[in-house]
């Protein structure tokens, strides 16, 4: 899962080496916390959150394949 998020995000940004994904998991849900270089934040969010929405919908549709927990993706800075 973490890897999928990285594969999606890395090619989009200018500083791929600064892409970090951390997980925060409890019994009922998993939150993936994505952080990127400060100059790249805009790129992964996009106009009106368009890119963020696209990334989320792919991650969520893949999530069912990995585990049955509720999945969230946060972009943190």
């Amino acid at each position: 899962m973490k890897q999928l998020i990285e594969t999606i995000v890395k090619p989009l940004v200018d500083y791929p080496e600064e892409v970090r994904v951390e997980t925060d998991e409890n019994a009922s849900r998993i939150v993936y916390k994505l952080s990127v270089h400060s100059e790249d934040t805009g790129k992964v969010i996009g106009k009106q959150g368009r890119v963020a929405k696209a990334i989320r919908s792919i991650v969520y549709s893949a999530a069912g394949n990995y585990h049955k927990k509720k999945t969230f993706l946060d972009i943190v800075d």
Binding site: L12, Q48, S57, I58, A62
Partner: protein, 242 residues
């Protein structure tokens, strides 16, 4: 494979509600009746009908025809290029290749290992065609995943290309089928607007899907169509003309 269960007062109404939700026609689905309705007495002991509706992608005639045709072109890629616009082909070629690799790696991340991507290019428009056993997963509910992938692919393509290119993703002729269902939906919704005499709202859709509906209804003189709201939550409204 899309599947939903739906309840309704009768089996028929449950099926039609499910069809509306999935935005497909009766021919495209298999219906499994879980529970038929029970009338009961003054509402006591009554039970709603419950059906399970599954969308069959395979039974689409176009999809079946497409398979052998694609198989013939055994080469990984087929390129149709406009000879007039040869000059910037270099960065475009690279952009297309990078985009394909990108989609491929995302698919692998989704545990889809048999994905085949072919492309066709016409000027600045590049259509990518996806083929896989599990392609339904890449399409997602109402093409959500496919649209998302398309958006990201477009970003990647334009990162590598010096000239603006438009990426269109398609799988199992989804776009064509979607256009047909949208046209049918448009007609149904227009009739509903006339019947009820009030405005009818669609759910939010991307611009090119709204365009299909606007076009489909442009010939009807008894209604008008317009869109409201801001992208990505912009939605279409039909209003009957008095």
């Amino acid at each position: 494979m899309k599947q939903i269960t739906q309840t309704g007062t009768t089996v028929e109404s449950a099926i039609s509600a499910a069809l509306e939700k999935l935005q497909v026609t009766r021919e495209e689905v298999t219906v499994n009746v879980i529970q038929t309705e029970k009338k009961g007495f003054f509402g006591f002991g009554s039970k709603e009908a419950e059906v399970e509706v599954t969308v069959n992608f395979q039974e689409e005639p176009q999809a079946v025809e497409k398979q052998p045709e694609m198989a013939v072109s055994s080469a990984e890629t087929q390129t149709v290029q406009d000879s007039i616009e040869d000059a910037p082909a270099d960065t475009r070629e690279k952009a297309i290749q990078e985009t394909k690799d990108y989609i491929q790696s995302i698919a692998q991340g989704m545990k889809i290992n048999d994905l085949k991507v072919t492309h066709q290019q016409k000027g600045k428009n590049v259509s990518l065609y996806l083929e896989s056993e599990k392609v339904a997963m890449l399409i997602g509910k109402r093409g959500q995943t496919l649209n998302s992938l398309q958006q990201l692919a477009q970003l990647i393509a334009n990162k590598y290309s010096s000239q603006f290119i438009i990426i269109e993703l398609d799988a199992e002729n989804y776009r064509e089928r979607r256009q047909e269902t949208l046209e049918q939906l448009a007609d149904r919704m227009a009739d509903k607007a006339i019947r009820t005499g009030g405005r009818v709202q669609f759910e939010p859709m991307p611009s090119y899907e709204r365009k299909v509906i606007h076009q489909a209804l442009s010939r009807r003189l008894d209604i008008e169509t317009y869109s409201e709201g801001k992208d990505p939550n912009r939605y279409l409204v039909i209003e009957p003309l008095k």
